[in-house]
């Protein structure tokens, strides 16, 4: 059990990154910790690599971190190696932040330079602020300056992550304009060379924006031009989504110290439900209402995790269909009656026939439907 709730990607996968760096003989863009191909392997997985750890050679599997189109990952990597920022857009819960974190970890070994876009975000939370006691005592100096992620990223040649950029006020977004085009930032309060931060090689920005909230189409044209947009679509492949949900639920359960078993047939119930509602149709071709709920893979992971905790703390440890239903009601549908109706309708048109046809887990799933109400 870990001492912290969650480690950043570069520490969680430190061995993989070390193995990749050890075997990486491809040319690297200036300031990068790995070559583009090694970054790609870190994100989409690759063959196991040997690495000497504490005097012993061990085989390090390079696991897949991101499930989806590999071409999308390639486009993202290529953008980071260019002079443009990367803007990952997509529906909520499509692993944009996850991808952003792992890209930053692989490219520069640091995914912690992160800004969260909110309506209350101010420029000094991105660029730099001041230690006012020192500022009053000594006047403007580097000692009194409190660097924010953008300052640090430029100064150290790192990737800066800007989450939910479209939720930030326009004037704050526009802070990035000159930084992205000129690659320098002025600190007018400081005299001489200290008043100019020149970006070191390796610096770039990964922003994310979801298409449900305030849209990317409202961004200024000037800022749009400085980003390459990469759309991260929801997973279309059921098997891929099952693999992703399983790996993430197991990781979360492991980190939490709980002990639960999520069998394949239960996992299939969960992922199929999300997959079909999101797609608006069952595999048999029955149309189902999509509703307004965010039936993302991230939400499926959340339901799976909570169901596992439920099974671990209040059950035998084996996740049962009723645990899923119980947590679907609380986790996925939030408090909207419409969302609940979507799920109830889904049970009527999709789960019920399967329960009659296949029995087993689907029948137990159907039997637990009252927990939705």
């Amino acid at each position: 059990m870990s001492e912290v709730i969650r480690l950043p990607a570069e520490r969680r996968h430190a061995t993989e990154l070390a193995a990749l760096a050890h075997h990486d003989h491809e040319p690297r863009p200036q300031g990068w910790a790995l070559s583009p191909r090694a970054v790609e392997a870190f994100i989409v997985g690759g063959p196991a690599l040997e690495l000497e750890v504490d005097g012993a050679v061990q085989s390090v599997p390079i696991t897949r971190k991101f499930y989806g189109h590999d071409a999308l990952v390639q486009r993202a990597i290529v953008t980071l190696a260019s002079d443009r920022g990367l803007l990952l857009i997509g529906e909520p819960g499509t692993a944009k932040s996850w991808l952003s974190e792992h890209l930053a970890a692989a490219v520069c070994g640091d995914s912690m330079l992160s800004v969260q876009g909110t309506a209350g975000l101010t420029e000094d939370q991105i660029r730099y602020a001041w230690n006012y006691a020192l500022l009053l005592a000594e006047g403007p100096s580097l000692r009194a300056l409190v660097p924010a992620p953008l300052y640090l990223g430029m100064n150290r040649g790192r990737i800066v992550r800007f989450e939910e950029i479209t939720r930030a006020p326009h004037e704050v977004q526009d802070t990035l304009l000159s930084v992205l085009s000129d690659k320098w930032m002025a600190v007018p309060e400081l005299p001489g060379d200290d008043g100019l931060v020149l970006a070191k090689p390796g610096f770039n920005i990964i922003a994310t924006a979801n298409t449900r909230d305030r849209g990317v189409n409202e961004m200024s044209s000037a800022l749009k031009r400085r980003f390459n947009f990469v759309m991260v679509p929801p997973l279309r492949d059921l098997d891929e989504e099952m693999a992703l949900v399983r790996s993430q639920v197991e990781e979360l359960v492991g980190d939490s110290g709980a002990s639960a078993r999520l069998d394949d047939e239960i996992l299939e119930l969960l992922v199929t439900t999300f997959h079909e509602i999101r797609g608006g149709a069952t595999t048999e071709g029955t149309l189902v209402d999509r509703g307004g709920a965010t039936m993302s893979t991230a939400e499926a992971v959340s339901v799976g995790f909570h169901a596992s905790l439920h099974a671990s703390f209040f059950g035998s440890g084996a996740v049962e269909p009723r645990h899923l239903v119980h947590n679907l009601a609380g986790t996925a549908v939030k408090d909207s009656d419409d969302d609940r109706k979507v799920l109830r309708d889904y049970f009527d048109v999709a789960v019920k026939p399967r329960a009659a046809r296949e029995q087993g887990a689907w029948a137990a799933y159907w039997a637990a439907r009252d927990l939705l109400r």
């Binding site: 583009p36 191909r37 590999d70 290529v78 849209g215 990317v216 189409n217 749009k224 390459n228």
Partner: protein, 804 residues
């Protein structure tokens, strides 16, 4: 030089080696591959063979001289068509609309400048080799391909090279999403010598063949027969040129099998129903018609750079297209700057490097364009870029064929007609007007344009003045087929010729040598397919009249007569009658036929419709409104239509059949009401008969049918009801007998029935009812305050009832 038949080695690499080192120069290709085009051209120029044999229909060999002629400029296509008049393949009615309509099979062998087959033939001609197509002709391949696939059209493809477990495994290992991406990365952009590329492709094809092919499957899909046929030509060429090299250019899948194939010529006799032509083609048609020919604009750009001897032709082509996309997107109002183009180009290069492509492939190019140009969500910001990219990838080149090859008769006739009628064929947008009543040439032009529209030639645009009610798309004017705009005396057409007209004419070329004959053939096929549907048949007759296909009139009228004899559906028959009435209305403008013949058919339709009136009794609820409209139209025509001979339609028959209908016990109340309404209007029944019928409904178990009864009555007897006090009184009296609860239950239906009257008519009816009510004691002496209060309460109650 005779050799014993060899057996193919099991080991794919050994097999490829044997093929590569054979006496015959086997050149395995992928269709539409620039790299293979260079391979075929250079290998033949180096080897200087005595014969060059190419995969293509052997009955098109005579066309090769025209194909390699300096005046011929691809894209062109060999088009072979076969009209199965004798149903030799048993597919008439399966692959054609009806058993009486012959299936029309077509085979396309499109060629572009970067087609390996084209470059092989050009190089072969340059070195003076004998040139020969060696594949099965269309007719022999119909049962193997067209019938098996259930499609009357087929184009040359690389299907066998593209499918299978081997390829899936390879593509996954390469990280390629599909065969095209794999092929471009593995073969097109990799620098190799001619011989190295030839051997690499043979190894690849040997592996595909070794992993994925079953002899039974090859027999079933016709591959074995095709390869035996091709092998026969190879053996013949070797005999003819014992001392020279024979070069054979086929799909790579076949190249590694032909050296081991058993020769057998497929016997096909030429017949007059098969036509094989060499025709000009276009990139747009290639993009639309063939999965293989996708993105000809890209292939064209690559080939142009190859022809210039560029070192990195794929990179140069990608840059050219990325700039083109930027310009086109900007023209569409998208945000795309030169800086974006620079970004796109850098992204394309970086993607190629990341994917280990020696140069930028089409996949890299498309990904880079999307990455750098799309500034927002795909649905908002991506459309303009997607359109610009698709246009750049498609290109717009149009080919030419030497005049010596002749031209497709239909295409020649179309352009001759277009010149005669001054129809623009340059692509400019024009409005063309036809004055049908005054100018004879305008009538001919109208017929030509209607024929073109019927054949779906893509030469029409949208009319600007959309405010006109009669305007529909490209045409405003009298439309005989829909019955709209019949009061107009001129036609206005919005025209804009496009290159796609040529492609469409090619597709239609086996219908006839002129636009008129093609339209007639298509219409004849439709007539046969219409069978006993008299409405569809009559509609086709109208279409024939509109297109002035005089030679079809008798045939169409025969078809109508034939359908009338067999069709007993009242709705279709009444619809057909209305169509005939339209025909008479149009006759002034197009007096092209003997009226007596038309009148005889009309009379037959009318009689048959009358005879089917009793069938209305069994009408389903949902069909009743349409049927009653038909009944109303039938009566109207029977009373008003003047026949050219001076004779009238047999009204007595109509009356007799309506009486027969009313005698049927189970007729729908609306039908019963409508029948009585007609007969009352014709003076055939008294008001008391209607009152009796209505009371019968009201007293019966189907009381709710009273609303429908009145609705039917008002449909056909509306005018009679307005002018006949007697009729209004009997209806009023019958309703007055209803209890409050029954009246309340009927009220919605009654409201619906009375909604047929306009407000002033309703006022008149109300005044009449009020006068009738004056007879009642309660109304004498004016309206008391108690009565007003009671009426207000009644109104409120009715509102509440209706609201629930």
């Amino acid at each position: 030089m005779r050799r014993s038949r060899r057996t193919a080695p099991d080991d794919p690499e050994l097999r490829a080696q044997v093929v590569a080192e054979d006496d015959v120069l086997w050149i395995g290709i992928r269709h539409f591959s620039p790299a293979c085009a260079v391979l075929a051209r250079d290998a033949i120029l180096q080897a200087r063979p005595a014969a060059v044999l190419v995969e293509g229909p052997d009955d098109a060999t005579d066309l090769i001289a025209h194909l390699v002629h300096p005046d011929t400029r691809p894209p062109v296509t060999v088009l072979s068509s076969y009209v199965d008049k004798r149903n030799a393949f048993g597919q008439n009615g399966v692959l054609s609309p009806a058993p009486g309509v012959p299936a029309r099979y077509r085979g396309w062998w499109p060629l572009v400048p970067w087609s390996p087959e084209y470059q092989a033939l050009r190089a072969g001609a340059e070195v003076g080799a004998e040139l020969q197509f060696i594949d099965l002709p269309l007719r022999a391949s119909i049962p193997l391909h067209h019938v098996a696939a259930g499609r009357p059209q087929r184009a040359v493809d690389d299907r066998q090279l593209q499918e299978g477990r081997y390829l899936d495994a390879l593509a996954a290992r390469w990280g390629a999403p599909d065969f095209d991406a794999f092929w471009q990365g593995a073969f097109e952009v990799q620098p190799r010598s001619v011989e190295a590329l030839r051997r690499a492709i043979l190894v690849f094809a040997s592996c595909v063949r070794a992993v994925d092919t079953e002899p039974a499957a090859l027999d079933a899909d016709g591959t074995t027969a095709r390869e035996a046929h091709m092998r026969w030509y190879v053996d013949r060429a070797r005999k003819r040129h014992p001392d020279g090299v024979v070069a054979v250019v086929t799909g790579a899948f076949h190249s590694v099998a032909l050296p081991f194939a058993r020769p057998k010529r497929h016997p096909v006799r030429a017949d007059r129903y098969t036509t094989t032509m060499l025709c000009a083609h276009s990139f747009r048609a290639l993009d639309r018609l063939y999965a293989l020919g996708r993105a000809p604009g890209h292939g064209h750009a690559v080939w142009a750079r190859l022809a210039e001897g560029a070192e990195r032709p794929w990179d140069d082509a990608a840059l050219e297209l990325l700039l083109g996309v930027m310009r086109a997107a900007r023209g569409r109002g998208a945000l795309a700057s030169t800086a974006d183009a620079v970004g796109a180009w850098r992204a394309a290069m970086a993607l190629a490097e990341l994917r280990r492509h020696a140069q930028v492939t089409r996949r890299d190019l498309c990904d880079a364009a999307e990455l750098a140009y799309v500034k927002g969500t795909p649905e908002h910001a991506g459309q303009q870029i997607a359109t610009a990219l698709a246009e750049a990838l498609t290109g717009h080149d149009v080919g030419e064929v030497t005049a010596e090859a002749g031209t497709v008769p239909l295409r020649a006739a179309y352009y001759a007609d277009a010149r005669t009628f001054r129809i623009d064929t340059t692509g400019a947008r024009k409005n063309v007007r036809c004055d049908l009543h005054k100018v004879a040439k305008h009538r001919q032009r109208s017929a030509f344009l209607h024929r073109c529209a019927y054949l779906d030639l893509p030469m029409f645009d949208e009319l600007d003045d959309r405010g006109w009610r009669e305007t529909s798309g490209a045409y405003r004017g009298p439309d005989l087929v829909t019955g709209e705009g019949m009061h107009l005396i001129t036609e206005t057409w919005a025209l804009r010729w496009t290159e796609a007209v040529d492609d469409r004419l090619l597709e239609l070329s086996d219908l006839g040598p002129s636009v008129g004959s093609a339209a007639a053939t298509a219409l004849t096929d439709e007539l046969v397919a219409a069978g006993q549907d008299v409405a569809a048949t009559t509609r086709l007759l109208l279409r024939a009249v509109q297109m002035v296909l005089v030679e079809l009139f008798d045939r169409a009228l025969d078809a109508v007569d034939d359908a009338v004899a067999r069709d007993s559906d009242f709705a279709r028959l009444s619809g057909a009658l209305s169509d005939f009435v339209l025909l008479f209305a149009y006759h002034d403008a197009l007096a092209t036929h003997d009226n007596a013949r038309v009148a005889a058919s009309l009379d037959a339709v009318y009689r048959r419709a009358c005879l089917s009136i009793p069938s209305l009794a069994g009408a389903a609820e949902a069909d009743v409104p349409e049927l009653l409209d038909g009944l109303g139209a039938l009566v109207r025509h029977a009373v008003t239509l003047p026949l050219p001979s001076g004779a009238a339609l047999d009204l007595g028959l109509l009356i007799e059949r309506l009486h027969a209908l009313l005698e049927l016990p189970d007729a729908h109340p609306a039908v019963r009401g409508a029948g009585l309404g007609v007969l009352y209007g014709l003076g055939e029944v008294s008001p008391n008969a209607i009152a009796g019928a209505l009371s019968g409904v009201l007293r019966g178990t189907q009381r709710r049918g009273a609303g429908a009864f009145l609705d039917g009555l008002f449909r056909t007897g509306r005018n009679a009801f307005l002018v006949s006090d007697e009729l209004r009184r009997v209806v009023d009296d019958a309703l007055a007998e209803l209890s409050w609860d029954d009246f309340r239950a009927l009220l919605p239906d009654l409201r619906r029935a009375f909604a047929r009257f306009i407000p002033s008519e309703l006022d008149a009816i109300a005044a009449f009812v009020e006068r009738g009510a004056a007879r009642l004691p309660v109304a004498t002496g004016g309206v008391s305050s108690e009565l007003r209060r009671a009426l207000r309460e009644l109104d409120a109650r009715v509102e509440r009832v209706l609201a629930t």
